[in-house]
Symmetry: C2
Subunit: 359 residues, 2 copies
Amino acid sequence: MSGHLTIALDAMGGDLGPDAVIPAANLALMKKKNLRFKIYGDLKRIEPLLVQFPKLAKVSEIIHTDSAVSPDEKPSAALRSGKYSSMRLAINAVHDKQAHCVVSGGNTGALMAMAKLVLRCLPGIERPAIASLLPTVDKEIVMLDLGANLECTAEMLVQFAILGSVYARVVRGHDQPSVGLLNIGSEDAKGHDEIREAAAILQRLNFPGRYAGFVEGNDIPMGTVDVVVTDGFTGNVALKTAEGVSKLITTVLKRKLKASPMAMLGALLASGALKKLKAEMDPRRYNGGMFLGLDGVCVKSHGGMDAYGFSNAILHAAEIADKNFNVRVAAEIAEVMAQEQKIKTELAKEEIMPQEMVS
Amino acid sequence: MSGHLTIALDAMGGDLGPDAVIPAANLALMKKKNLRFKIYGDLKRIEPLLVQFPKLAKVSEIIHTDSAVSPDEKPSAALRSGKYSSMRLAINAVHDKQAHCVVSGGNTGALMAMAKLVLRCLPGIERPAIASLLPTVDKEIVMLDLGANLECTAEMLVQFAILGSVYARVVRGHDQPSVGLLNIGSEDAKGHDEIREAAAILQRLNFPGRYAGFVEGNDIPMGTVDVVVTDGFTGNVALKTAEGVSKLITTVLKRKLKASPMAMLGALLASGALKKLKAEMDPRRYNGGMFLGLDGVCVKSHGGMDAYGFSNAILHAAEIADKNFNVRVAAEIAEVMAQEQKIKTELAKEEIMPQEMVS
């Protein structure tokens, strides 16, 4: 596969299935010529679509399967009955070194469960996290976890900080990414025990980023830091709230711009600017929940995405695979684990001996 | 005080202190003629402002104190050293029936600690919650807790649901308010134990609202339900994320509308519509963190608010006091407590005997 990047595609995942996935692969190929595809799913649905894109067809292989994971199947059921599903076979391809990464728009819980089972976590990572790029005032930032882990220990939050900063550095090219822990105030005493312990470790840790302290919800869209770390419950709520507010403002803006002939004329003249705003905030542009911390690259596309949205999930996966993210993370995690035990011993000591007595 | 509503104002709280609080009181008085004010703080700063508003001066009394709680003081320290602070004296006025409610723009933690100590919780309420009104597509909704309680038991979430629905019904006039529990998916099996247990109780509870199930982050700004219930950590992050996204979109929109002469002309023609959008989303309009569940009405204004923003916090407090919210909540909570034990016994039984065997 040298020089090429092979993407395993679950063609049956997402609301539109192959109707979105195949044109998406074509869009991705137009942007990145060295992509190759292994497409898993129903041959009868995939083949007629593929013939419409001769360039894509040349670099693609269809692997037929009748089985697909349904959107509302429980992860445990999908693990049992989905052994020959398009999702599972696509993940297997990464494990078997037949592909560099896998992209699916299917059931998130099932995809995470299968990916964990087949690909396993990288050494030193307890649980993978879901990460995504988000638009902010001046740049894109990365945030994790967005829903894989409802509750997180301090150690997990520290691991997520490493995953996020290596991603920001290696994949996105930030030299010294700043990392913030999401909290409800910037003072040291705020927040859950886990968050405060994670903060204490990160303050002392030598890792490929700069720990910037606690950040609050408004810091996410303001782009105060390059990497926002949080538990999966809070991250998921924050992400969906952000999507909802974006939709709310767009809805109200449209309504106001239609309310008078003068406003309509204004909107017409400003339509280029409004389109640019829309494009910059377009959730399709940031589509792709990246499962970081696995020994293999797996990216989840939002189920409701069209071809353009899905193509961005493919490109994000290709970027992670291309930049050897996992090799780099594994090295950083080993380095961090060596320091972490020492830091924890120090922290424990400090609790016994208050700062005043030590200094 | 019959016919009148007396507001105790902490004039020293918030970034601007009396410079915002006194004009705010005047704005509130113009909208609601039956307001009366007890103003706590530094006479030398308050008096020269008050003489500028003769109508306000007529219905106001200044109670001088040199002491004020500083914005970054720890709640425990404020409790100890702030016994004669403007904040504490204003809260005392509510306890001593000298005022119907208290409004402060000061240190949130200190205000909550003092309010709990002085006013105490209503019988049956374990901990008060911070609630706020939020704009959505078609109406205002109420959300709680927004930061008072980092972690919440199922019982606390149920109490917040009652507080929120009584508020929506009695104060805002929704006949049968729908109540949603904030979660990361709408399926029954999703979320923390506490949330799922709260859901099981709310499904069986007869309360002055309609339990509408789990809602997700995007449901908040979409206005899917009238009342959104969550823990204080998640609620605070969601609220601040929403504020940040709103600011992000406004910033990008302004930038795009300045990027070309045509866009600028369009923006000029549509300026009336854009102003209406801004007014509708204006955070000052929704200013006022309402401490629900206390035996007394206490509202926290955002510290950075100007007079217009602070005046809305005053009007929200007046509305709650005016509609006898606390009397109504106390009755509903007593009613719910009577049912709750029975429901819990039922739930425990169901765990022993699975559904199939019972029916």
